[in-house]
Amino acid sequence: MVTINDYTSNYENQWCPGCGNFGILPAMKMAFVAQKLAPHELLLVSGIGQAGKTPHFLECNFIHALHGRALAVASGAKLANHNLNVVVNSGDGDCYGEGGNHFIHAIRRNLDLTLLVHNNQIYGLTKGQASPTTDKDMTTSIQSHGVSNRPFRPLAVALSLGAGFVARGFAGQKEQLAELIQAAMNYRGFSLIDILQPCVTFNHLNTFAWYKQRVVDVATLNHDARDFQSAMQLAMEWGERIPTGILYQHEEDDFTALNPWLQQGPMLQREYNANAINDYIDDLYRI
């Protein structure tokens, strides 16, 4: 039987004490254990940033890739072997900034991936610059007169691109987050969970307390996750109330179901057929 301890990594954790990531890590483990996934049955793909380091702090297969590119690497891995259970750890800078284009098109591509965006609304690893989701007017060492760019609304963007599973979690609510991760992994297709994650070192605006006062589970709002319009409204909400939970879910054929080769099984399992290749070449030499 798989237990939480199976996921314990001996590698030294490098996050700041009190980091919001310490809420996400156990939620991931809880979800994987609940899914009865052993560490060798899971592949984590991550980008760069504090979120990108996540795979080192669990015991499982991983590729900790380049800044912004995690989704592209994960997509390639799924094209090769769509039986893989792939979870992507990214951050707001990694996914919505550097990897913005990959975010957009990974949603359109609709491979069966689960994307966890550790969204702390700040660049942590590079020490406190604004990220695409930093609130307007917040001052940083670089945006010294306050952020002037409008914030990126990831859930609304994902919805507009037709994403079939769009959710928001909060690092301060592990149980809810673990359930969201499970639901996302069970969803066949691209699933996004934007996770509110306080940065205790560089973001003194969006703190644990700040989020705690505002988060509201959509389950308590009588929201129907099949209702796109209502989901879009909730996705744009940001301020006094911040909705969490599954905002939108609908079933649709994923990339694998639409590809004639992949329908027959993962590429990795295809045998090399020299005869077929030789026959094809022979034909080219005939009239």
Binding site: Y11, P39, H40, E41, L42, L43, V45, I48, K53, P55, H56, E59, C60, N61, F62, I63, H64, A65, L66, R69, A72, V73, A74, S75, G76, A77, K78, L79, A80, N81, N83, L84, N85, N101, H102, I104, H105, R109, N259, W261, L262, Q264, M267, L268, R270, Y272, N273, A274, A276, I277, N278, Y280, I281, L284, Y285, R286, I287
Partner: protein, 566 residues
């Protein structure tokens, strides 16, 4: 007398000169002739001036000719632009309103005859028919080829083109022009029709490639188009990525998961991929990447050719790591080189970059030799995980620097990798000793990588003078050497195909203290730079062409002769 005839057809983009070319090439092929055809096109979808030029011969040819025997002007500007290339007894086919003074001319109302046949678009078939008639081809053979080429279209289109063919033949019969009396009879083709792009794609399939990812960019797009066509027959998933960054990272992801994967790009796209090359290098994930060069910088000449990326490819991505750079010499060599690329990438777990260019990928020719699967390039199955899976370390130190590679989720052993510097078990590490050991481990592959390298292709290498060249220019430099020798000049050839790691011998002994001339398609002599750095050798002179057009045999001959005082 040996057959060596060059036909050039000029027209606007969208006028269908490719169809003329296909008809000519297929008819030649089915009559047992050899040919080599180049496409010259502008970066536009309609209009402009493009041409297709085919050299027909009864022996294999590896280079285009500079002199034209039969010119077809479909756009009203072809004659003016190419008059200087015409032989004295050349024939010009043009519209009635044109008057190419001083040349044998046949006026043909291409569009008028095509309209009579049923569709203006069949003007290209009228032109092809007139060419074939002048070359002495039988109408029956040509008619058969038309049916084959248009066979997948509606019946009406086949009929229109058959009528257009008839009209072209009749127009030639009405004239008293004397063309060429080639022998045309249907026989077993002397080979198959390939261009560099199709040979690369087929070679990838022969090497068990299962995933392709790319972003469209001239002149590399054709490679992926052919790969998509092959995916109709072979298990292969080809995905158009959102950009080249995604394409290269997808290929890395696919390789990491255990499938051979390919990407192809050019110029700016290759620049975007450089970041990913580093990820492949440090995670020791096999990567096969084709850079189909076009002249730059920036957008440069999108549809033209050059060899300006040699040093860039040699150094692409930050810091130092082992890599292969291979540059196939011919269309057939594309098929073999890409197979080797997959073998080398897997064996050494390094990036392998294949340098081709617009000339090579879009040059179509009759390949006489039967292309064979390279048994060494057939993918091996995943190595067995260790008996104690928990002891597995993806980047374990070994004598030759190659660590046993496992695929994720295929055994109990965990596969961990990162683009950060890392410990043998794949975790990030800033430890100083570990850093040194890991750099050394990766570079330890170099001596055995060097052993894999093919020596340069040599011809008359003991000659007084050597021409030294690389990659796609082989056919042109080879033919130039033959011509120079027939003029009584003692000239040989050393042509590099495996560029990096540089095979030291026999180049070192051949080039040290001897007289050699660099022949390259860039402005600064990049191969010379590399040979100087690696071998301490210096060319006596260089012939550099960087106009974006295919290297000219005549120019190599005249410049070499002038340089060596012949």
């Amino acid at each position: 007398m040996a057959v060596d005839i060059t036909v050039k057809i000029g027209g606007q983009a969208g006028q269908g000169i490719q169809t003329v070319g296909d008809l000519l090439c297929q008819t030649c092929r089915q009559a047992g002739y050899f040919f080599l055809a180049i496409n010259d096109y502008e970066s536009r979808v309609r209009g402009g001036h493009n041409f297709f030029q085919v050299r027909i011969s009864d022996t294999p040819v590896l280079a285009p000719a500079q002199e034209v025997d039969l010119l077809v002007d479909l756009d009203g500007v072809t004659y003016t632009q190419h008059a200087s290339e015409l032989n004295d007894d050349a024939i010009v086919l043009c519209m009635p309103e044109q008057n190419p003074a001083g040349h044998r001319t046949l006026h043909i109302d291409f569009t008028g005859l095509a309209k009579e046949a049923g569709n203006k678009a069949a003007q290209n078939t009228v032109a092809a028919a007139a060419c074939l008639a002048l070359l002495g081809a039988g109408k029956e053979l040509c008619s058969k080829v038309v049916s084959q080429l248009f066979g997948t279209e509606e019946e009406k289109i086949v009929t229109v083109n058959q009528k257009a063919l008839q009209a072209g033949f009749e127009r030639v019969a009405q004239s008293d022009l004397k063309g060429w009396n080639l022998t045309w009879k249907e026989q077993q083709p002397a080979g198959a029709l390939f261009d560099g792009a199709s040979a690369l794609a087929l070679g990838a399939v022969a090497a068990g490639c299962r995933v392709g990812a790319f972003y469209p960019m001239s002149p590399a797009t054709g490679i992926m188009t052919h790969l998509v066509q092959l995916a109709e027959h072979f298990p292969l998933v080809v995905e158009q990525a959102e950009d080249e960054i995604a394409a290269v990272n997808m290929v890395i992801g696919a390789n990491f998961a255990g499938c051979r994967a390919l990407t192809a790009t050019s110029g700016g796209g290759f620049s975007l991929m450089t970041e990913g090359i580093g990820l492949a290098a440090t995670t020791e994930t096999p990567l096969v990447l084709i850079n189909a060069q076009r002249p730059g910088p920036a957008t440069g000449l999108p549809t033209r050719t050059g060899q300006g990326d040699l040093l860039f490819t040699l150094h692409a991505s930050q810091d130092e790591f082992p890599r292969f750079v291979l540059a196939p010499a011919t269309v057939a060599d594309c098929f073999y080189t890409i197979q080797r690329a997959f073998y080398l990438a897997d064996t050494y777990q390094v990036p392998v970059m294949v340098l081709v260019d617009q000339y090579l990928v879009s040059t179509s020719m009759l390949v006489a030799e039967k292309l064979e699967i390279n048994p060494a390039a057939i993918p091996a199955s995943m190595p067995k995980p260790p008996a104690k899976p928990e002891t597995y370390a993806r980047f374990a130190f070994t004598e030759n620097g190659i660590s046993p590679r496992l695929f994720p989720c295929q055994s109990q052993a965990l596969v961990k990798a990162t683009g950060n510097e890392h410990t043998p078990d794949g975790h990030s590490s800033e430890n100083r000793e570990n850093r040194i050991a890991m750099v050394n481990k990766r570079l330890a592959k170099l001596p055995s990588m060097k052993q894999e390298q093919r020596p340069p292709l040599l011809h008359h290498e003991q000659a007084d003078w050597l021409l030294v060249s690389w990659g796609s220019s082989y056919g042109m430099v080879y033919e130039a050497v033959g011509k120079l020798r027939s003029q009584g000049l003692d000239v040989g050839l050393a042509h590099l195909v495996d560029i990096w790691p540089l095979p030291q011998e026999p180049l070192q002994s051949l080039l040290s203290g001897s007289k050699w001339i660099l022949v390259e398609q860039n402005a600064t002599g990049q191969l010379g730079w590399m040979l100087r750095a690696e071998l301490g050798v210096e060319p006596k002179s260089s012939i550099l062409q960087y106009d974006g057009r295919p290297l000219e045999v005549a120019r190599i001959v005249s410049e070499t002769a002038a340089k060596i005082g012949g």
